[in-house]
């Protein structure tokens, strides 16, 4: 706990000092970075220690924050680790834009990380909601950091609305959780309100409205932390508060699994249609949350059908994927931020050829993208493999319903995997390969050390995690026990079995990687001593190749999005050449989010109309305001006398005096 206290203190101190020294960019950066790094490192050590030794846990009476239990410690790890790397990245990212506002940035950044650390540490629902709200507000301030742009402000407002819609569901959830609000089917309502409230933060399908807006608008380090760590806290909330242990597993299982399938597939397809690199990554976050939910769904179904092996595989897969997604998506957002910083655009149709201009970023993006696609020798594969195993265990079970849903899960995961490979082929190809399609890309700036360092650090962490997968599988065995406390021994057994499989998998991955490295060495050896000539791209066969010949990112996505048009999310706006001597013609393609078009837009418009009508009350006239307050007080007074005195007939005088005092205030 000392570590967490130190962490929070450092973050707060760094943030406030940075805010005070806002006038001087250099001092603000030093203060903010020192506080941020120190705080996140202390927090990371504390989280890892608490994760490894969850037994040492003291809860003081009446405390508002507590030593985290295993689940909280697990979700603290991405927050702190990603927070540290994103802080380093921020230094280089903000060097050229954000003069005179760096102190503000660091203040909100450190505050956001501190509130994200506080959310899992909260001991009481009120503390939790308070920190959750602070987290939403500080991240809103960061999303709106480049507030001069209309797009950014639109995204920031959508994010703020989504945050508050979430709170509107979380308050009833906690009322049910604490027993203040008693209903029949309390468990069902608890789970539904929790799933919607936390799902709005996590980006469950249909509730993901803010992700594709806020992630591209925010500065890259912030979107990295939000995507890698903050949306996971939504999952944390569902698992900690919305789910009750030992019962109703089938409800949780089916809900999460179906949500997961829709989210994974829908997220992947809509990512495929995006032009904006960071928006693509944001949609891919929806997809990954879907995969995590599928894992959790299989886990709960396993408990529900007394199939503990399935449960262990599902949960382990989900938790492994949470960690891998955090690190990889964090890296990808940092790399996308470097693309934006050096070229000034995120539109993939205007990029291309960056592999030659910012090679470090290109290689790291490629590696992280391949890993996140779930391809075998890389990182995300073990997690998805465990989820597949859970699905196959479900297929082998006798229940027909479970068979159908497991089959749907496996097929969904397989199709998603395929689409995601396409998504990253598009992202990598459109951004880094080929020739530059605009001056943005051809005049890309060099990568500063801090940005390169942060990305390299994260991708190295990913490699370490790949090697450590079997160990992590063993460590994660205590997490499913939290939901079903009776099956401890059996879970440990299955977990050992799964760890054995993971060990083989890691060994195989290692062999494949070593094979690749050997081929590379062979190539290097064969080429030494010979002269290697570098020519322009596509120099063989074409007399004078130009960038206009190559596939753009949009044309790459055309077959899936236009001809198959799975979610009808691909909208083409064209102006055809007209007349004998056409003056202008254009084609633009945009990707619209089906959920936004289907219900978020009408919903927002509806509330907008109501708000406009209510706004008339706020006429700006002082006298009118006072009149309204008087009317409200009078109404309360009359209500108090007429309706309340009868009930408390025995304490008549007392009731009156207290009502009177309200008026005095």
């Amino acid at each position: 706990m000392v570590l967490f206290d130190a962490s929070l203190f450092l973050l707060a101190a760094g943030g406030i000092l940075a805010l005070i020294s806002n006038r001087n960019d250099r001092i603000a950066t030093i203060c903010g970075l020192t506080g941020g790094l120190g705080g996140t490192l202390c927090g990371a050590i504390g989280a890892i220690r608490a994760f490894l030794t969850p037994e040492i846990r003291t809860v003081a009476e009446g405390a508002v924050i507590q030593q985290p239990e295993m689940m909280a410690a697990f979700f603290l790890m991405p927050v702190t680790i990603l927070g540290a790397f994103a802080a380093i990245h921020s230094v280089g990212y903000l060097k050229h834009h954000g003069h005179g506002r760096l102190g503000i940035y660091w203040f909100f950044y450190n505050l956001m990380i501190a509130s994200m650390i506080l959310v899992p540490l909260s001991a009481t629902p009120v503390t939790f909601l308070f920190c959750w709200e602070i987290m939403g507000l500080t991240s809103f301030a960061l999303v709106a950091y480049e507030y001069h742009s209309r797009e950014t402000m639109k995204a920031a407002w959508i994010y703020l609305l989504a945050c508050h819609a979430g709170i509107a569901f979380l308050i009833p959830m906690f009322m049910i959780h604490l027993g203040i609000w008693q209903t029949a089917n309390a468990t069902l309502w608890l789970f539904l309100t929790g799933a919607i409230g936390f799902g709005l933060k996590a980006g469950l399908p249909g509730l993901h409205v803010w992700l594709p807006e806020a992630h591209p608008a925010a500065p890259a380090p912030v979107s990295s932390v939000m995507s890698g760590a903050m949306i996971n806290l939504g999952i944390f909330g569902i698992l900690t508060y919305a789910v009750k242990s030992n019962d109703h597993f089938l409800l949780y299982g089916y809900f999460l699994l179906i949500c997961g399938i829709i989210g994974a597939f829908g997220g992947a397809v809509s990512a495929y249609a995006q032009q904006n690199l960071k928006r693509l990554l944001a949609c891919s976050s929806v997809e990954n949350i879907g995969i995590i939910c599928m894992g959790l769904g299989f886990g709960f179904l396993g408990f529900g059908y007394q199939n503990n092996f399935m449960a262990v595989c599902g949960f382990t897969g989900a938790f492994l994927h949470i960690l891998n997604h955090a690190v990889l998506k964090g890296t990808l957002f940092l790399a996308a931020g470097e693309v934006y910083r050096s070229t000034g655009t995120l539109n993939m149709d205007l990029l291309g050829g960056l592999m030659k201009r910012i090679p470090g970023t290109g290689r790291i993006f490629t590696l992280a993208g391949l890993s996140l696609s779930g391809l075998p020798p890389f990182n995300a594969f073990p997690g998805e493999f465990a989820i597949y195993l859970a699905g196959f265990a479900g297929l082998a079970a006798k229940s027909t319903l479970l068979f159908v849903i497991s089959l749907a899960g496996i097929l969904g995961l397989a199709v998603t995997g395929g689409v995601v490979c396409g998504v990253f082929a598009k992202a990598i190809g459109g951004t880094f390969l080929g020739e530059p399609r605009s001056s943005h890309a051809s005049e890309a700036e060099k990568t500063p050390v801090s940005i390169f360092g942060a990305m390299t650090g994260l991708i190295s962490l990913a490699v370490i995690m790949l090697v450590a997968t079997p160990v992590m599988t063993l460590l994660l065995r205590k997490m499913p026990e939290m939901f079903l406390k009776t099956a401890g021994n059996e879970i440990a057994q299955h977990s050992n079995h799964l760890a054995g499989l993971m060990l083989k998998l890691t060994a195989a991955s290692g062999i494949v990687l070593i094979f690749f490295i050997m081929i590379w060495l062979l190539r290097y050896m064969l080429l030494t001593g010979k002269s290697v000539e570098k020519g322009p791209t596509w120099d063989c066969g074409y007399a004078e190749p130009t960038a206009r010949m190559e596939y753009t990112a949009t044309s790459f996505a055309r077959p899936l999005c236009k001809d198959i048009n799975l979610l009808s999310c691909f909208k083409k706006h064209e102006q055809k050449p007209d007349g004998l001597f056409p003056e202008s013609a254009s084609v633009t393609v945009t990707a619209e989010d089906p959920a936004t078009a289907a219900w978020w837009k009408p919903l927002f418009e509806f509330f907008g109309k109501i708000a406009e009508k209510v706004h008339r009350l706020q006429s700006g006239s002082l006298h009118w305001y006072i009149l309204m307050m008087v009317i409200a007080v009078l109404a309360m007074l009359i209500w108090g006398f007429v309706f309340q005195t009868d009930k408390t007939a025995g304490q008549k005088d007392h009731g009156k005096v207290s009502v009177k005092k309200e008026v005095v205030k």
Partner: protein, 229 residues
Amino acid sequence: MNAFVEIISVALLITDLVLVISGRLLHSIRWVAIQGILLGLLPLLLHESGFGVQMLILAVINLSVKGILLPLLLIRAMRKADVRRELEPFVGYTASLILLLAATAICFGFCRYWNIAPGAASPASVPVAFTTMVTGLFIIIARRKAITQAIGFLIFENGISMFGICMMLEHGLMVELGILLDVFVLVFVMGIALFNINREFSHIDSDKLNSLGDWDLPAQNHKDGEAEQ
């Protein structure tokens, strides 16, 4: 003793009626001072229930602060801001009088019907206290000048303190002193602010100060943009 209390209650009711139709500020301030003095006398007449030190302190403070100090401050503010009359009130004086009479009737009816205050010193005092509060609020809402609103707040406070005195609340003194401090600070700040506002904007109409609020800014920007086009 009840007779004295009732005489003072009726006198307070008359001051309310006068205040609501008075347009000249100096006149209003004088009547508020009279109201304060009447209120200061009230505890002294209640010694049937014990002529305590508390009541004495209350009387002295009421007399000195409400009867003398605050009216003086208000007159000073009025002179500095150079306003004499309440021009163009939102609600005309005749309508105000009718509304206040209606409110008085409602207050009396209300108190009688539900028997709000069985422990009050006199049956008339509690409705009059309510009427005084309503008068204060009404003046705050229906008048334009900031200084009249300060007067309205003072009347409102008089109503509250009259209620407190007549009910002989246990911690009446402390509550009373707390509110009195609030009112004092309010009038004090008002006096300073009025002078400065008057110097900056050459009027003290509180409804015209609305345009200082930031909610008007977008609309104004929009207008500016149109003008440029």
